[in-house]
């Protein structure tokens, strides 16, 4: 058995998109290995239809562990469950998304089960001769791509950059098995308690999970001008990002910061407006599918890595863009 596992993520009983992206990754690997693709779900009171969607997106088996304390992510308890399941079923590969959850729980588990873990992979493949997992990841600010394997330890574990892969087309005819794993009270670890959530009033979705991110930087000149970015993002169905400069100046809050000391993202479209593109910023956006820059300086670093650049005054270009988008809406 060379089962491939993906760690699903849920919030308030709903599976997150990254869960399906991971299945697309896992499906390709499981097909190469001719093995089962298994989705692991830790949650509480999740309905069967919701779990079925994992099968419709590529899973053969869903292992569902239910307990009231699994409603919220607490690293120690989640790690205990995963460790026990890994020891029980001995999977070949365990993948999670490189989210705050995956990047907390997987390193904790990798130590417990004595195996290797590769962070934030953007590409995964199976080495033909050995059936080892080849895990490719950007490092040193995206300036190198390292391919890593775990030759002698099992399972082979990796976290995968969200949005670096598209989920599979839903197939409601696919069938699979849902295994309800019996909860073992010994898995509960009460040292960390979740007291509550304060949702960011100006964040209506995670930057890492957005298809389009539009960021503003120092070129906007002052805080009041940041509304240009917000209006454009709204009209493009995008999330708002910001350069470190813009965040340090208080134009936008830290959860919006893109780059080395903020978030690393891989949207379908990244638009940087008035952002020169320091290496630290580029490190956070390099794996975006498409990059557009709007900048008055044609030598700006961001333009060097962009697919499309408009060189000119953003205060003329953005309003024109907004006007045209509004026109298209009106048509």
């Amino acid at each position: 058995m060379k089962d491939v596992w993906t760690l699903s993520e849920q919030h308030a009983g709903k599976l997150k998109e990254v869960s399906y992206e991971l299945l697309a990754r896992g499906r390709a690997l499981a097909d190469t290995l001719a093995s089962n693709l298994c989705a692991i779900v830790l949650g509480n009171n999740m309905c069967e239809q919701e779990l079925q969607t994992l099968i419709h997106h590529g899973a053969d088996i869903v292992y569902y562990v239910q307990a009231p304390c699994l409603e919220e992510m607490v690293c120690e308890t989640h790690a205990n469950v995963l460790e026990a399941l890994i020891k029980r079923y001995a999977p070949h590969i365990v993948l999670s998304a490189a989210t705050t959850m995956g990047r907390s729980v997987l390193p904790y588990v990798a130590v417990k089960v004595h195996t290797g873990l590769t962070a934030d992979c953007t590409d995964l493949a199976i080495e033909e001769e050995t059936e080892n997992l080849l895990q490719t990841r950007p490092a040193i600010g995206g300036n190198i791509l390292a391919t890593i394997k775990t030759p002698h330890h099992r399972p082979q574990m990796a976290t995968v950059r969200p949005k670096s892969f598209r989920k599979l087309q839903i197939d409601t005819a696919r069938t699979g098995t849902i295994v309800n794993v019996e909860w073992d009270p010994a898995w509960y670890d009460g040292r960390v308690q979740v007291l509550g959530i304060r949702e960011e009033s100006d964040v209506d979705g995670a930057l890492e999970e957005a298809d389009i991110v539009i960021s503003g930087g120092r070129g906007l000149k002052k805080r009041d001008n940041f509304h240009l970015i917000e209006t454009l993002a709204h009209s493009m169905g995008a999330q708002v990002g910001a350069s470190r400069d813009a965040v340090d100046r208080g134009w936008k809050s830290y959860p919006h910061q893109v780059g080395l000391s903020g978030k690393t993202i891989s949207p379908k479209l990244y638009m940087g407006i008035g952002i020169s593109g320091a290496v630290q910023h580029l490190a956070g956006i390099k794996t975006s599918e498409c990059i557009v820059a709007i900048n008055s300086d044609e030598h700006a670093n961001l333009i060097q890595v962009a697919d499309f650049a408009v060189v000119g005054d953003l205060f003329a270009i953005v309003p024109e863009l907004l006007r045209r988008l509004a026109e298209m809406d009106g048509e």
Binding site: R103, V192, V194, V305, D307
Partner: protein
């Protein structure tokens, strides 16, 4: 309260230029600095010490020149430093690195809190902090953006997650990894620099740690790097210029066409 801050020396990258041909970084002398994200961990520890009293031990694993980052942490106000260095530690991945550092921490005075940066700017894995917690059997609070309350037995903190800020209460001892938002790092003081200059920093190798040599360095690392590539810039950039009203109109036209061709325009209401 005894706080341990594990830090890493990384190459200086703030003034890096991109090589336009190869798309790689041109490193200016590659001076070793404190990993920028570790400065937030150091500052957090210093603020807790100021409020609460106690002692901060800063620890790093790395070659001889890594002592420089320990001195900088002392100059900022940390009390003690420990340098882990040994040929046997070389080539360690995050599993072996967190093992080695955990073995050193086990030999220190009782630890109440470990505060680490979210990740290092070179390796960019963020796995050593969580790994330490796991080896030491401590609980883990990652992506900490604010500490609301701290006592001898617990702390209340906020974590910055995808869905917003989540408030947690963690019993001590615990391991925190912190994000930039938590604090603004202070600069070293003159007094601190003098103290750092004079300070003899203990150096521990494998024989000072009660450790399994099979878990150290490259030999103890479950992962292997099989290939390193410099990704070439494969993007070809279409550059359009907007200098006046007409060319701005034209440039926006082309941008919209580009986005439409790539299916990146939002679906409009009537489509």
């Amino acid at each position: 309260m005894h706080i341990v801050v594990p830090i890493k020396q990384v190459p200086e990258t703030s003034n890096v230029q991109m090589d336009k041909e190869s798309g790689t970084m041109i490193r200016s002398g590659s001076d070793a600095i404190v990993n920028p994200l570790d400065l937030y961990a150091l500052e957090t520890a210093l603020q807790i010490k100021e409020r609460h009293g106690g002692k901060i031990t800063v620890i790093t694993m790395g070659p001889a020149k890594a002592i420089k980052v320990l001195k900088e942490a002392i100059a900022m106000g940390c009390d003690e430093a420990l340098h882990l260095s040994d040929r046997a530690f070389g080539g360690a991945d995050t599993w072996a690195t967190s093992y080695t550092i955990s073995k050193a921490i086990e030999k220190l005075d009782k630890v109440d809190l470990i505060i680490a940066g979210e990740r290092a700017t070179d390796g960019d894995t963020g796995q050593v902090g969580p790994g330490l917690a796991s080896w030491l059997g401590m609980s883990l609070v990652t992506y900490t953006s604010h500490i609301e309350e701290i006592t001898d037995s617990y702390l209340v903190a906020e974590r910055l997650l995808e869905e917003g800020y989540v408030k947690v209460k963690a019993n001590l001892p615990t391991v925190l990894t912190v994000v930039k938002e938590i604090a603004i790092p202070r600069l070293p003081t003159l007094k601190g620099k003098k103290r750092a200059m004079k300070m003899e920093i203990p150096l521990w190798g494998a024989k000072e740690l009660a450790c399994d040599p099979n878990n150290l360095g490259l030999q103890g690392s479950p992962t292997r790097v099989v290939r390193i590539e410099s990704p070439k810039l494969t993007r070809t950039c279409t550059v359009v210029r907007a200098t006046d009203e007409a060319s701005t109109h034209e440039a926006v036209d082309q941008l919209l066409q580009f986005l439409a061709d790539k299916n990146l325009l939002p679906r409009r209401k009537d489509q």
